[in-house]
Amino acid sequence: MSDYIIEAQNLVRRFGSRKSLVTAVDNVSFGIEEGEVVCLVGESGCGKTTTGKMIAGLLKPTEGRVRYAGRDVWGDNGRSKEDRKAYRLGVQIIHQDPYASLNPSHTIFKILSTPLLHHRFVQNRAEAIEQVSELLTRVGLSPVEDFITKYPHQLSGGQRQRVSVARALTVKPKVIVADEAVSMVDVSLRVSLLDILGSLKRDLGVTYLFITHDLAVAKFFAWAGRIAVMYVGSIVELASTPQLVNDPLHPYSKALLSAVPEADPELTRSKERLQLRSHDIPSLFALPHGCRFHPRCPFFMEGLCDVKRPDLVPVGNGRWVACHLVAREILGSDAVA
């Protein structure tokens, strides 16, 4: 569909040589509408960062397509230089670690003015200073004079991450891929950073692919959007945030939500826990047959889940689930066969 600003179609990414080939992302498809927030959640190694990098154009998909504003980003057919540039400017990424993602030998001014000058958003130094000041104010780093001449090591982690946000904004992107953007920031500063990211959505209409392992952050940031739960390279459930946190359908989503500790003693101690059959996360080198969750799934159905891999299918209300049991219960057994 073309109303998506950014779209992943059957993305596959493999790493390694022929001898040891790992499929980090296996057939992932989703689309994000303009101004929407989609969260990718999942445990480490599930492929969420790899997916984010493919969306942001930092990794080439082994198979499948990324479409930006309807145009195939990696294919050669009819793709002009202008299209490529529009995509490069239109999709920006904020990395997890603000200590590693800013050049330590450049001042904040240099970090922020380089893309402005390179892409001719400003014509000279005076305009650059003005524009950089505006960006710093927008991300809450004011008075601007205190920051503009500093080096990254002179700033705290929270301030550095704000600089990363400002850098992503320099080229006026339509889509921001935020890869664990607040995970390394202290609790008391996290909310204000999330508020800044939220204000970009409100004021500038930025679309987000928000990648996190923290369900509480996902819920807070994407309450009006959707959450996609990934497990071992694939999306197992995609639903609106309230649906997902209040009534998860996929057994893995259920397990995550029942396992996560809550910052509320009575709630967290009285939560019902879904007991898994196994604690082991499957190795990417030896993936289980059928549904990849079946060795751990408490609702495992022998002869089905260990034989046939469930597709991600729509189950109504705009949600998608990849589970034989859910398909059977909601769509009737015919759909399973």
Binding site: D186, V187, D264, P265, K271, L276
Partner: protein
């Protein structure tokens, strides 16, 4: 079942529940750095009660890890304990930790008080098999029988739900993060310590792995009856594991109380702010409020209350005088703040909202 034997042993060696195993009194720790002197821990007085689980919560740089390291005298060379005392008790014996020599310290560490460090991967020697790490540990602390150590190690590994024969011959890199954390826990229990200090035991673990570690800690503590001091920046882990919670800010404890007092009836504006800042996952959307500003520079901390530059209740008095921990309503609930009545008034709104959303969930 060998796992049952561990439980049996735990019951048999359970420490008499009367004495307070670990007390700190007015403890000060400083780091000498080029720019000056970092006051990382400023006058902490704290008792670890028998068989309790005490959580030390706070943000990075608040001094919580330094405090943990000071308790087992593992501070870096640049650090000095400038004032205060640490007392360890077992039955009717008392040990002054700060006056122990290195041989006595070696006897104290691990046998009496074990520490599990933050990063489970870095806590191992990468070129030694788990078997040899465990044996080295045992030998360093006076157990010389290889057979005995082996037997105990196998039992403990099974007890922490690992496949003992596979794990004991593995190298650290062959184990996942959760498995390594479980091996560390098993190793820390090797010599049945009375006190266990855990530095961020579940940080950097995935949700489901974190769950198994939390459940394991709950079971271990119930079976073996040690006292546990755990350091965490994660409020959710504290809410789940702690009997009591101490909030640290800028090197000092600003609030101490039962887990329910801290989460439902906080008296300190910083504690209240932290709770405002962390959403719960299940249930309805909650508004969050961030704490303005950033934690202070501990080389040159502000005068008076260290929180006053960020505090909405700050008055002239807060800027000059530092409040001390004093009892407020509730059993053993201590707060260091001049304006607890104002904080309570505003916190009542929060509690109402939490209850409402709690009821909506049910």
């Amino acid at each position: 079942m060998s796992a049952n034997r561990i439980t049996e042993q735990g019951r048999a060696t359970r420490h008499s529940a009367q004495v307070v195993p670990l007390s700190m009194k007015d403890l000060w720790v400083e780091y000498e750095v080029r720019r000056g002197c970092v006051k990382a821990v400023r006058g902490v007085t704290l008792d670890l009660r028998p068989e309790e689980s005490l959580a030390l919560i706070g943000e990075s740089g608040c001094g919580k890890t330094t405090l943990g390291l000071a308790l087992v005298r593992l501070l870096a060379k640049a650090a000095r304990i400038t004032e205060g005392s640490i007392t360890y008790r077992r039955d009717d014996q008392e040990l002054d930790i700060l006056s122990l020599n290195s041989r006595e310290l070696r006897r104290f560490r691990w046998r009496e008080c074990a520490m599990v460090f933050q990063s489970a991967l870095n806590a191992f020697n990468p070129v030694l098999r788990i078997r040899d790490q465990i044996y080295d540990t045992a030998r360093a602390h006076g157990v010389t029988s290889r057979e005995e150590t082996n037997q105990r190690a196998l039992e403990l590994l099974e007890y922490v739900q690992l496949d003992p024969r596979r794990v004991i011959n593995a190298y650290p890199h062959e184990l996942s993060g959760g498995m390594r954390q479980r091996v560390l826990l098993a190793m820390s229990l090797l010599l049945s310590p009375q006190v266990l200090i855990l530095d961020e035991p579940t940080t950097a673990l995935d949700i489901l792995t974190q769950r198994t570690i939390i459940d394991l800690l709950v079971r271990l503590k119930a079976d073996l009856g040690f006292s546990m001091l755990f350091i965490s920046h994660d409020l959710a882990t504290a809410a789940e594991l702690a009997d009591r919670v101490a909030t640290m800010y800028a090197g000092g404890i600003v609030e101490l109380g039962s887990v329910n007092d801290i989460f439902y009836r906080p008296y300190h504006p910083y504690t209240l702010g932290l709770i405002h800042a962390v959403p719960t996952v299940t249930g309805d959307f909650e508004e969050l409020v961030s704490i303005p500003g950033a934690p202070p520079d501990l080389i040159d901390p502000p005068d008076g209350c260290k929180f006053h530059p960020r505090c909405p209740y700050a008055t002239e008095r807060c800027r000059v005088e530092e409040p001390q921990l004093e009892p407020v309503a509730g059993d053993g609930h201590l707060v260091a703040c001049f304006h607890t009545d104002l904080v309570r008034r505003d916190a009542a709104d929060l509690l109402q909202r939490l209850t409402d959303s709690g009821e909506a969930r049910r």
